[in-house]
Symmetry: C2
Subunit: 327 residues, 2 copies
């Protein structure tokens, strides 16, 4: 069974994930190798990249198709991690040379990576190509890459129903005009506190959120690291504009790499699995984002998400409910 | 009507505050004058002090009795702020001299006050005296004062059922042995992130919480400023040990002074109003703490809480529920 279809109790109505084969997400972003050091240990050249983390997390909820470029060091063993989760890899281009490589550590601060080395390799000349088979995708996720490429992919897929994206301080600070163009075409932006403050030029996160919503994305998810995440949406039928979920209390974070992309995968994957998108759908999506993000950090790289089963997702969902709900 | 008794809907069972005249809280702490500057403006010598903020917030839930010392500058106008809320002031001793005075600002950082001046005045020789009329109090709150005094009050009231307390970095860093003695006699400790990390000597807040619980207080509330608060309790019937509530998204914080004490007043005041203390009671108490803390910062000093009505408390409670609950 490919998509999760857990046996849920009556009271679990919110976890009622529908399976919609055609509600596919196309994601464009990096597929890479990461060498990571954290207080919990070290891993050399594990499979990583934003598109990888996103696709694996989203694959538990809906069909996922990847657009990326890899080098000759990407072999059948890596490909199998995707195909085992029925992720469509036809858009992963093979180029001469090596895959994107990142080396970083979190020894002083688990909330912020210290980058030791970034080799763009084949990614330096990445020209996203969209396979014809992806053209009926209704959902598009623009992972954290050059906003010029994000925009190109967005414009090549005019038929998509919902577009979400991510970015980082480098693009906010040094490529703002290109990024602002991308934001105009986004329905949902997912960024962290620092990025939100920097993008808006405003320290108060509520005012920053409103200012970013005015740049294009009607829905904004701001991730607060260990303090959880906030959803800002346009006024809904109940007048509620903000929803919050706290961080899971974790005694140990093994590796934060990919937590944000796994959050995005759970969040957007759940949305793609749902026919209707009400305020309640977005709330539940915040829960699934937090579920996938909190699971991702329990082991290095993709280890935890790649070996996950649906029951673990349900159990973590319940943990978040217990952590936040009165009754 | 003195205690709030809002008309609640069926579904509002959790907000069902019982009125128990005899479940009184005695609070010991400062009653003071504060001169405060924030980005929103300035106030000279407004009524403040931890015991004041705590008592006003708790007074919406149960009977409150204050133990403090004030100077000759504390007149009928100040006293009326307490008596209007039926707070028992018989334990507020009048001494020759001036009341405790604090001057501070939050111009750079709303999360941390910069102290410009502290005049202990009559507080320097404070010897808490407990009126005979307070001796049947079942609840005791030890606001942030010298742990030597906290302990003396605790030992003078052996009949209390539940004891909660607060402290600050000054006592943690420079008076730790005395503080550790106080902690042994506490059921509940309420502190912030920095204080928790410093007290435990541990950066990870979950591990810090467990280590502090081992020092005495079985229940620990850690306040995260704009990111809300966490409740760590001993294993309950559901096995849940942690409950979290996010911060209210506020576009403007007028004055954070007394927010922590107002949180404590809502939290402990609600507990004192309840016959039974289950895990659900503590969860609801976290909500009422957040309600009172979030209201307190909307105006300077005690202005907001002192002029509050029960309907505003109910409305804010609903806002927190909307902000956190799936359905």
């Amino acid at each position: 069974m490919r998509k999760r279809n857990a046996a849920l109790t009556e009271s679990d109505r919110i976890a009622n994930i529908e399976r919609k084969k055609n509600m596919a997400i196309t994601v464009v972003g990096s597929v890479a190798y990461d060498s990571i050091e954290t207080p919990a240990g070290k891993r050399e050249r594990c499979l990583g990249g934003a598109a990888t983390h996103f696709a694996l997390a989203a694959s538990f909820f809906t069909d996922v198709r990847v657009i990326a470029v890899v080098g000759e060091d990407f072999g059948p063993r890596q490909e199998a991690i995707f195909t085992k989760h029925n992720i469509d890899t036809r858009g992963i281009e093979r180029a001469a040379g090596k895959s994107f490589f990142w080396e970083g550590s979190y020894l002083d601060n688990l909330n912020e990576a210290k980058t030791h080395r970034t080799d763009l390799n084949v990614f330096a000349s990445f020209e996203p190509k969209i396979p014809a088979e992806y053209s009926d995708s209704e959902f598009l996720f623009l992972a954290n890459i050059d906003p010029v490429l994000q925009r190109r992919v967005r414009e090549s897929m005019p038929g998509v129903k919902l577009v979400a994206g991510d970015t980082m301080n480098y693009w906010i600070n040094d490529h703002k005009p290109a990024l602002l163009e991308v934001l105009k075409g986004l329905d949902i932006l997912l960024i962290n506190d620092t990025e939100a403050r920097s993008l808006a030029g405003e320290n108060n996160l509520v005012r920053a959120a409103h200012s970013i919503q005015a740049m294009g994305p009607k829905t904004l998810v701001i991730k607060h690291g260990e303090y959880g995440a906030s959803l800002y949406s346009a006024e809904d039928e109940n007048g509620t504009k903000c929803f919050k979920i706290p961080g899971l209390p974790l005694e140990e974070v093994v590796d934060p790499t990919g937590a944000g992309d796994s959050f995005a995968g759970g969040f957007f994957g759940y949305l793609a699995s749902q026919k209707q998108h009400t305020a309640a759908t977005y709330r539940t999506a915040m829960f699934y984002g937090s579920v996938m993000g909190s699971l991702a950090v329990e082991r290095f790289g993709t280890e935890r998400i790649a070996s996950l089963d649906g029951a673990e997702i349900d159990a973590r969902f319940e943990t978040f409910r217990e952590l936040t709900h009165l009754g």
